[in-house]
Symmetry: C3
């Protein structure tokens, strides 16, 4: 399948998005250490005492950004792979993949930097456009097999 | 792979489930706007003020439904794709895919409508049956390669 | 694809990880019943009354373990499948898959048993090593198609 140009193009952007999610997890951990706010008492014990087993708004912000990525990047990993097999043109397919990747990167930046609304929401909606486009094209390709 | 009837049948149901999850995200956003309950201060500021940066039971219900979908629909996207390659009969495979899809749709309805227990739990358990069935059939097919 | 030894090896470990996540969901439900702590009022009503619609630290611990699995096992399902297609040696590939699986199993045990820090964090970091390794090898294989 990696000899399929379109699938390989998809894989490139998909792996970037997975790495972006790993970075978000790393940032969450760093914010927990800096703000001394741990989700587990055993972690708080290691870093100064049970009083650091607490919530922190910056940590929660990181966690919301990560959860939103799970809600949106994971479906893209599926849709993009199947869409690659429906025979789109490479240019149109790359546009779908690159637009989604760019918008999700902007979404993470807007979330972590707490940019004024509706910056984050616009990035979210713009990222959904290529996903819904791919979903509908896939349905058109396989509807006969339902 | 889309010339494989079973895989294409799987893809049809899988894409419906992804779209169902997108609808759930959209409903969550609408409930946030209607109840004026925002997870981020910057969103609350845009919609009337920081007092709307607050939790709401209806919003939390939508989020639990969405999270439960992530816990269950995402594994299905993997199991269904691999199961399609193990050479099941089309009728049996379609039964797995359609039963899972129907049960997860019922699960979402039971969750959002807060139907009396154990409606939602029954839909959840019934949806797990085809997933565990596929997982075991896949393990039987690949156990020699462990 | 199941005639590809490396992909089949990946599928074996991947399905074990999905089943592990199902077990975690089952444990969460059992802890909810035992501690009488339900996320939904309709569940609490069925099990004794609205006073059991409440949070419980043991339930929250299970949910954090499950969420961490979503954040890490789901990307593995993607990375492992694509990495299998890049033509690694079977021995090296199996090492990636088995190491990740073992570390994630240890992670779940460390989480549920509340082992002293940094047991759980070490399991988490060790599991990331094969994932980042696969991600970089995939990028090297498809970079020409970006």
């Amino acid at each position: 399948m990696l000899r399929n140009n379109i699938f390989s193009c998809f894989v490139f952007y998909a792996v970037l998005l997975v790495l972006k999610m790993y970075v978000l997890a790393f940032i969450t951990g760093q914010v927990r250490l800096r703000k001394k706010a741990f989700a587990n008492p055993e972690d708080a014990m290691r870093h100064g005492g049970l009083q650091y087993h607490r919530l922190d708004p910056d940590v929660e912000r990181c966690r919301r950004a990560h959860r939103n990525d799970m809600e949106n990047v994971f479906p893209f990993l599926f849709l993009g792979a199947v869409y690659s097999m429906t025979g789109p043109s490479l240019a149109v397919a790359r546009l779908h993949f690159a637009a989604f990747t760019a918008c999700r990167l902007l979404h993470s930046v807007a979330y972590l930097a707490a940019l004024p609304a509706p910056a984050r929401s616009l990035a979210y909606v713009a990222a959904q456009v290529p996903c819904v486009s791919m979903a509908l094209q896939i349905l058109a390709a396989v509807a006969a097999y339902a």
